[in-house]
Amino acid sequence: DAGVTQSPTHLIKTRGQQVTLRCSPKSGHDTVSWYQQALGQGPQFIFQYYEEEERQRGNFPDRFSGHQFPNYSSELNVNALLLGDSALYLCASSTTGNYGYTFGSGTRLTVV
């Protein structure tokens, strides 16, 4: 039973560049959420996608954008990277109305 798959696992980018992170949800799940986790802190909600639309958004600037595809997979895009964007980016999937989220192992983004 494949869980949530995220790629890449690690990424190093230069300040000002753009990055795209990818997520394949657990089989049977149709809702994808993205979280940012800075070192030593709890995850912070970025946004959630359902039926290819952004359903909820956290307190993140417009530099953070996303997309959900018809097969429920999702991408997180971050433009004009800042040093402070360095973090573990987590994808979580679930079924609509069910709060049983399954998390992926994350993408470790380092901005230099």
């Binding site: 949530v4 030593g40 995850p43 987590l90 979580a92 109305g97 709060y99 998390f103 470790r108």
Partner: protein, 111 residues
Amino acid sequence: EDQVTQSPEALRLQEGESSSLNCSYTVSGLRGLFWYRQDPGKGPEFLFTLYSAGEEKEKERLKATLTKKESFLHITAPKPEDSATYLCAVTSGTSGSRLTFGEGTQLTVNP
């Protein structure tokens, strides 16, 4: 705005030494309180969901309880493999389905 505070920030136990982790929350209309375990460099792993005050759930050496203001994660006779960061999160009527996390408690169990 939902708020979650976990204590202590870090806890060191000897193998077999039982203890409890605390999660205090402030929400408008709790929908669910969640406990997750997170190992270094990995994503959170789901442990429990609690929905109403008085509810309790158990899994192996872990037991989670819920009151109207806080939740406890009791660890009975811990083993070194229980070492991890334990995260508490809530969803509420105002936050929808988004999870609001605390900062976590880093647990170390020494053999």
